[in-house]
Amino acid sequence: MTTSVSIKDLSLSFGNVKVLESLDLEVAQGEFIVLLGPSGCGKSTLLNCIAGLLDVSDGQIFISGKNVTWDEPKDRGIGMVFQSYALYPQMTVEKNLSFGLRVARMPKAEVDARVKRASEILQIEPLLQRKPVELSGGQRQRVAIGRALVRDVDVFLFDEPLSNLDAKLRNDLRIEIKRLHARLKNTMIYVTHDQIEAMTLADRIAIMKNGVIQQLADPHTIYNKPVNLFVAGFIGSPSMNFIKGDLSGTTLSVDGQANIPLGNYQFANQTNGASVLGIRPEHIVVGEDARKMPVQMESEIEIVEPMGADTVAWTKIAGQSLTFRAAAEVHLEPGQKVLIGFDPGRGSVFNAASGNRI
């Protein structure tokens, strides 16, 4: 695996505010990395550092093995796609696509060829003579991607490229980006705060918080083995249930009201004391199926949210609220008493103080 983008000990401050601190990140050639995190955690800042649009305070950035820390954006071999599209409003689509190439004084024939190729890939040939105002949101976003495409670069940077679009279009374009990656095999670094995008697109996801990468792993690991409470709570919708209790040995005692046996949970480094058991809503089963589970309990349903494909219900155990997901066919209604069950082995246990997985 060759390294495409390598970030070493990167720090960045705006005045006194430290936004990124000693950040390291290695991205392999052809990898699709998604930076995911709450607003203001420094995702865009990191991306801008990679692009060379912000001057780093400390650290180094390598792209394709070359130290580009001090290079101009255009010399880094990157293309970038922005949330607000950032198309040049006074230029036609064609001009937008070719602008960078013309600035670089590329021969006309070559420019045309590249524009042609990019517009074929993105299926925007009929739009070439239009101006951005005459395009729909999705078309604009495609042109924005095209502008990165024509540059024929190794690394694509996306800063929330889809978040200005409506749900339907977002879905469609997401697939398109996925196809594009499959076809081009470039390295892509993609910023988003939409987890569906992150889960479906990424080879690896970097979950960030306050300028620090919390976990960098493939989506499956992130989803199923979050390293800490933050990651666990951030990923998943409806979000993971957290049951606070006191752990001693393999038993979590919840408020003295209930004891949850964690016998089949694989502890990494078990520590007794205040702990949190995280269990995903879809890992809680209801009704007859619950009887097969290691942990079972009666509970009363408070709210039911039918989502079409499935239903989300809210209940409480030992005074702590719990969400679970059931198939749309299962009939649930508020006030109903049901048996629920789950396998703690599929959950995650965290130390309440440090928040880290144990």
Binding site: N48, A51, G52, L53, E72, P73, K74, I78, G79, M80, F82, Q83, S84, Y85, A86, L87, Y88, P89, Q90, F99, G100, V103, A104, R147, R151
Partner: protein, 308 residues
């Protein structure tokens, strides 16, 4: 529509579809009358002086001496206009405003674009390419907007004559550029600050530099605010008298100097009708600019000036 609404009000359908239907009938409210009354009264206030200027310029001197400032001339005459344009004395020469007109055009045509482009670059740099001290410079510039012109004149004269631009056309252009700079830079800075920063970033990724982004991306986008700048500068520069007399040089004396020569006199006779005609003639160019592009003025301001 209203009749329809009424007739449906009387229809006795099976459902309860009685009562108001369709658009609310427009009634002339007191508020509405008040709005127009206020606007019209204000308009009268703004138009009255223009009216006075026009009627006075069409009167003969004896009639003016009678008073009746607002009356339409009893004896209509266009001589004052001819005289103002063509034969009024502005010193030894009696060629009216005519000769200065072209000087004014020359000065305005050169100074307006130069001052605007420079202010545009300033605003652009201040928004996208801040450097250490750039904000301080801008602060000083804004401060300069409050300095009475004459305070600055002496050093400027000395400076310009050192570089050989004193009393030349380029010299007056420089002066107008300097004094237009504070407000125009403020306008452009606010305008560029309101543009999405991503446009700038995209330009940089595309490999355009300071000038590339300026000329190829920002300049074409700044049309609305540029219209505001043009209006401000055309009126300011065209109406300038002070700098024209000192910095333009004898061959380039603007029209306002001649207007002043016609209108002002210490110990001579005053011809009010000619004065008024000359005044209107001199104001004609900025007025035309206003009436043509006034529509874009508010929009242009909205595009930039209103952002904090």
């Amino acid at each position: 529509m209203t009749t329809e609404a009424i007739s449906s009000g009387f229809s006795t359908g099976p459902t309860a579809t009685t009562g108001p239907r369709g658009p609310k009938p427009k009634t002339v409210t007191i508020g509405r009358i008040g709005v127009y009354a206020f606007l019209i009264l204000s308009a009268v206030f703004f138009l009255l002086p223009l009216w006075v200027m026009i009627v006075t310029s069409l009167k003969t001197m004896p009639e003016i001496r009678e008073g009746h400032l607002f009356n339409w001339p009893a004896l209509l005459t266009f001589d004052p206009w001819l005289k103002a344009w063509d034969t009024a004395c502005t010193g030894r020469d009696c060629n009216g405003l005519k000769p200065g007109f072209w000087n004014s055009v020359k000065i305005t045509a050169l100074s307006v674009p130069v001052s605007i482009v420079i202010a545009m670059i300033n605003g652009y740099a201040l928004s996208f390419w801040k450097y250490k001290g750039s904000e301080l410079l801008f602060g000083i510039l804004i401060f300069g907007a409050f300095v009475p012109f004459q305070v600055v004149i002496y050093p400027l004269i000395i400076g310009l004559s050192k570089i050989g631009l004193f009393a030349t056309l380029p010299g007056i252009v420089v002066v107008h550029t300097i004094f237009g700079m504070p407000i125009l830079t403020l306008l452009y800075r606010n305008f560029f600050a309101s543009l999405p920063i991503e446009l700038f970033k995209a330009g940089r990724v595309d490999g355009a530099g300071f000038w590339g982004i300026f000329f190829r991306i920002m300049l074409p986008m700044s049309v609305p605010i540029t219209i505001v700048a043009i209006i401000l500068q055309v009126t300011g520069i065209w109406n300038d008298f002070l700098f024209g007399t000192v910095f333009a040089g004898r061959e380039n004396m603007p029209m306002t100097v001649q207007l002043n020569n016609i209108v002002t006199t210490t110990t001579g006779i005053r011809e009010y009708n000619v004065n008024m005609a000359a005044t209107i003639l001199t104001a004609a160019v900025p007025l035309v600019v206003y009436f043509i592009s006034g529509k874009w003025f508010v929009r242009g301001i909205a595009a930039g000036a209103v952002k904090g």
